[in-house]
Structure formats: C-alpha cells, structure tokens
Symmetry: C2
Subunit: 352 residues, 2 copies
DNA sequence: AAAACTTAACTAATCGATTAGCTGGGTTCG
DNA sequence: CGAACCCAGCTAATCGATTAGTTAAGTTTT
C-alpha cells in the first residue's frame, strides 16, 4: 500500500505538497499538481483513513444502533440511513442492540472506541445514564430515533405515536366497532406506550373504555404478537376489532387469526400502525397508519451532521412527524348486532 | 478524551506499561497493573482505534456490500452478518451498490481507504476487474456472497441456483402443469440465470419446453416483477403456473395477479425461490424453495475471518448451500381441462 | 536599491497508540 | 567473584497523514 511518502518521492515534492494537492488545502502550481496527480495514479495511492483520522480527530463514520435488526421496520431505516449518510460523505456502521440495554451499553462503548463522529440511536431501556458517554470530554453527537428517553437532552426524531393510535382507533370506531382490543409493544417503550395512549384517548372521547383483558403487550416481534394475539382472541367474548401497534406484529396477529380459523375482516377487523412494504398483493391488505420513514431518517442524519459540524450540541431539537391513515381491506363495518346482554363472562350475542 | 499518556502520567508509569496492561502483551507486576487499571477507570480511558489501527495496520472493520438494501433478502443478510461479525470482534459497515457497477467501484475504493480488514460482497455486473483492488499490494480479503463472477478467485458462498429452479419447477410439473411461465432476475446475474437454467433443465427432462414468450426477466424488485408479470399474464393463452425467482418478486407477481382479477392458486399457481419472512398469516402462503441464510452468512464471515487471520488468500474456496422446498398453498393441481384450440402462433399439446 | 511583502514549497512537530531495543538490579552458575 | 542471563519497566522510533512554522525567490513599495 503506497503512502504519502512514496507519492512525494515519486513526484519529487514534499509530503506537504502532496497533502495540499489531495485536500485542495493550499495553492500548488499547475506543474507540481500535475506531477503529484500522476504519481497518485501510478501508485494507485489512497490516503489512509487511519492516519488522517488520527490527525484530524474524526473518522467519517456514523453508527446506527437499532433495537432489532430482524424487524423490517429497522431494515428500512438501515436502507434509508445508508443512502443519507453516504450523501453527506460518511460511512455507516450497523449495530443491533436486540432490545437489550446491556448490549446497547457495550455497543456505545465500542462506538466511542471507534471514534465514530456520531450515533443515531434507537434507545432500549429507559435509562439515559449510558448516553452521557464521555464523562471527561464532550459526548458523541447523538440523535435518538423513533423512541425517546425521559430526561435526555439529545436531538430526537420521532412520530406522533398518540396520533397514530388515535387515528387507527377512530377509523375502527367509525366503522361501528365498540368492543376493541389491542396488541401493543412493551409499555416502557415510548412507541408502545404512546400508541396505546392514543387509542385510549380516542375511545375515551367517545365515552368508551378499553377493557384491560383486551389489552396485550409484547415485544415488537412476529412471534410475540402471535402468541399474545392467540391468548387474547381465545377469550370468550372476543373483540370485533384489533389495533396492532406495529407492522411486524400485525403479521403475527394475522397468523394467529388464520390459525384460529377466523377470517379477517369477516370475523375480526385489524388496523395497525406501520406495515410491511410490498405485501399489497396478499390478502387482506392492512389498514394502517404510515409514517414518512425516509424523511424521518434523512432528518435524523441532517441533525446529526449538523451537530458534528457545529462541534457540540446546541439546544436540543425534537422533530415529530405525523402519521397518516392508509386504508386497506382488513377492516369491515360492523353490522347492526344487538348485544344480548352485558358480556361479563357470558356468551356472545349472535347476529341477525 | 483521555490518552494513553494521561493514563501513564496518572499511574506514574510509562506508556509502554499501560499498553502492556491493556493488551496483556507482557508481564506487568500486580502492583503496577493495579495502578494502571485504576487510572484507566478514573479517566474512563478507551484506546483510540485510529491510533491503534494506524500502528497495527488493521481496523477491526468488515464491510458488507449488498446489491440492493431495499430487498428484504439482503436485510436479513445484514441482520445475520451483524451478529456473526460482532461474535468475531469486528464491526460491520454497510454499503448499498444498488445494482450499479460504478457505485460498487466507488464503494470498494472507499472500503480500501477505510482500510477495512475484509469485505463481503454481493457483486453486481460481470466484471472482476475492480476486485483486483490493490495493484501494488495485497488485495483486501474478500468473500463473494450469493452471486459469483466469472474468472474471480475469491472465496464464494452461494446456493445451488440450478437446484432451486429445478425443485420449484418439478413441484409445479408434479401438480400436472405443463404450460409454465417464469419471472426471473437479470440473466447476467448468476442467481437469475441459474434459476432459469434449473427450470429449463427440469422441463427438458420431462420432454417439455418453456416458450420464450412465457419467460420474463427483470430486476429483483417488487415493482419490476409487477410490471413484467402483468405483461406476461395479459397474453392470450396465459400459463397455468409461474415460477418466480425471488421472494420480493413473488410479492410483485402476487400484486399483479390480484390487480388482474386472477386468483391464486385458483387461476394460477405460483412457486418461488426465497420468500419474505413472517407473512405466514397472509393468503396465499407461498410455495417456495428456501435457503439457509443464517448458515450461509455465518460461513461467509468465517471464511473471511480465516482469510484475514492467515494474512492472504489460500486456494479459493467455494461453498454451495442446498435449497429446500417449502410447500404453502399458492399452487393447485391442474384439473383436467381441455384446451379450446391452438392459440394461434403455436399449438399446445393438451393432456386430458 | 533597500525594505517589506507575497508566494510556493519545504521541514519538522504532531496526533495516540505499539513495540524494538535498552537499562539497571537481581539470580544463577562456572 | 565475575560473566551470563533474566526480568520489569523505560525510552524512543514508528505508523501515515496534517499543518504550523520556515525559507528562498520573486514582486512591490518607498
């Protein structure tokens, strides 16, 4: 591997001149510049980032730490982030905390060691402690993505989870459903909690309540959603509609519905927040709220690069995106059905 | 950010001793070792990778360059690779060549600049040229993943594409289908070509031929598959069954089928190679061949780490994994149906 | 024409680690 | 007893770039 010295020797100039040519950092006469460029080509020289970073104190590396790489939602974030980061001249390191706070801690330590210029973090756990990652120096520029952590002063990019839960719920209510259930994420995570809160608010404002036996929370995974959905739906008087807090969970719920011999939307309506892209040809098509993932990711990268450039965090900025409802055919209006008697533990009132 | 000198000063030892303690590279008396460790803790010192890499000439970085990050197949590769790479003590850089050879070339130049210790590459294009990436030194350890490039001497990890195409096709033939069609990937890519060849071989061995108007190839994308599937299915005598060469394309085909008002498997059977994980609750469930993606990824990382350790490529190793058939309900047996009349151009041999 | 600037290029210090080579004190052995 | 050897730890060179500071030549000013 050729070094700057080899180039300097070959072009018969000093290393300073080579550096000046490469970085365009000082005026170099056309003649020498040409000699240097020729030498660079001949030796197919590429400057060592290690050396450059050591001197400059940065690395051109941005780390993206997601909570669960197996979740297609985060795969799309990776896709969008790679493009955004590359457009700014950085490269992207990927880490998976797998929803485990101690793994997240290890990852952040490594991010520091690698002297990444910044981190986009989907935080797990509710502690902000390990985010103060550099007691004796300035902390690594950080943007929290999707989730927030109480008391943290990083920039954040999130969606309005309350609104997402509310919109989906109102859609179900508008179809005439009153006995709703929900499969939501972990309640200590803002996305799980917020979406449930939105749902509760929507119901409350119509004078309805969500029975606690119709609320289930589980990890944002297909299999977790499958099992809690089964246990919810196997109850005597099952809900006529479900709100599911994530696209991946919706798949698990769909599978549970299918395995129980139920039909969607015939027997049960399902609305979700987020979906799996590309499944428009499969039935049923989910009714869901979507959020502008690419815009969110671009914004997160923009905020991060801005922090890096200004060399320290300014007043924390919290950017919130709005979800929008996309109607599929996984929800059906409820047909006028007299409820036989208060459902207590009693039988279901059959229709017509 | 504390440096090794700060630690040395605080512990009242030399930097050499600090280094020895940190790396366990020489015997240090318990007393000094304790002082050093205390200082490390107090200053929350973490060695600078930039400096260490500069000296050692490695970076603990492995690059994964995929052909299309938007394809869920590669998202799963990213997921598996992150875990495998972390287990070996490396960190993972992600790049997306987006099926563009010139982007791939730029990425490989950057990988070199970053002095990555190795690359796992899903090659695009058919040239091996830019893989000889370091004319004047030893090339970067490389493992080709999924696809191969003629004449290249890197290690490779692939699946048996011929077998994948053959198995899926034979399943369709066994159900009685004779008028088959296929949606495959680009034919200059080994995965597209190989799967088609497997299909052709399967048909040939039963004395059947695949009409060229029933063969369509397009990029490995949902939308590309959608449009070529439409054009294929809108032909007068459409096939009774399709083999689709990728999971993502199968989604596009499903959507085309739905938009054309056709029913799967009622009007048309569909088998594919690869699928989208987690869609088991949606209808229909794809019949497809699957390949052991996690094992493949682990093997690729293992081969790469091995190359890195031995410090140069040995005899190239080519590991081929076998696909296996997973039956869903997207295929139906063909019922004895008389074909009305020869469809203009060429007569079909009907089988009562 | 001497003083004062500019300019293009160079020399050498520097970033933060690793490590070859050295030192001085303690053992071992002929 | 002194040569030979060990050992723990230190000094200083080194990796490959950037860049502050210097120099010599040329240009402008007075």
């Amino acid at each position: 591997m050729a070094t700057i010295k080899d180039v300097a020797r070959k072009a018969e100039v000093s290393t300073a001149t080579v550096s000046a040519v490469i970085n365009d950092s000082a005026y170099v006469s056309p003649e020498l510049r040409a000699r240097v460029l020729a030498a660079v080509r001949d030796l197919s020289y590429a400057p060592s980032l290690a050396a450059r970073n050591l001197k400059r104190g940065r690395s051109q590396l941005i780390a993206l730490v997601v909570a669960d790489l197996a979740n297609p939602f985060f795969s799309r974030v990776v896709w969008a982030a790679e493009a955004a980061v590359a457009a700014w001249g950085y490269s992207l390191l990927i880490f998976n905390s797998d929803e485990k706070p101690e793994v997240e801690r290890r990852i952040l330590a490594r991010v520091r060691t690698l002297s990444c210029d910044g981190v986009i973090l989907v935080p797990v756990g509710d502690s902000t402690e390990h985010l103060q990652n550099d007691p004796d120096g300035k902390p690594i520029p950080t943007v929290l993505f999707g989730r927030t952590v109480a008391g943290d002063r990083s920039d954040t990019v999130t969606i309005d989870n309350i609104s997402a839960g509310r919109q989906a719920t109102e859609y179900l209510l508008d179809l005439g459903h009153t006995r709703l259930g929900t499969i939501t994420g972990p309640l200590h995570v803002t996305t799980g909690r917020g979406r449930l809160d939105g749902m509760l608010a929507a119901m409350r404002s119509r004078g309805l309540t969500l029975e606690s036996r119709y609320i289930r929370s589980g990890e944002f995974r297909e299999d977790a959603a499958y099992s809690v959905a089964r246990s919810l739906l196997e109850q005597p008087a099952r809900p006529t509609a479900l709100y599911v807090a994530s696209g991946l969970m919706a798949l698990g719920v769909m599978r549970a519905v299918a395995d129980l011999g139920l039909r969607c939307p015939g027997d049960i309506s399902i609305a979700s927040t987020d979906t799996i892209p590309g499944i428009g040809g499969l039935r049923p098509r989910l009714t869901r709220t979507e959020h502008p993932l690419v815009d969110m990711t671009n914004e997160a990268v923009r905020l991060l690069v801005d922090q890096i450039r200004r060399g320290g965090p300014a007043e924390p900025r919290n950017v919130v995106f709005q979800p929008s409802l996309v109607v599929g055919d996984s929800c059906a209006p409820i047909v006028a059905q007299p409820v036989a008697s208060p459902p207590s533990s009693a039988p279901m009132g059959p229709a017509p």
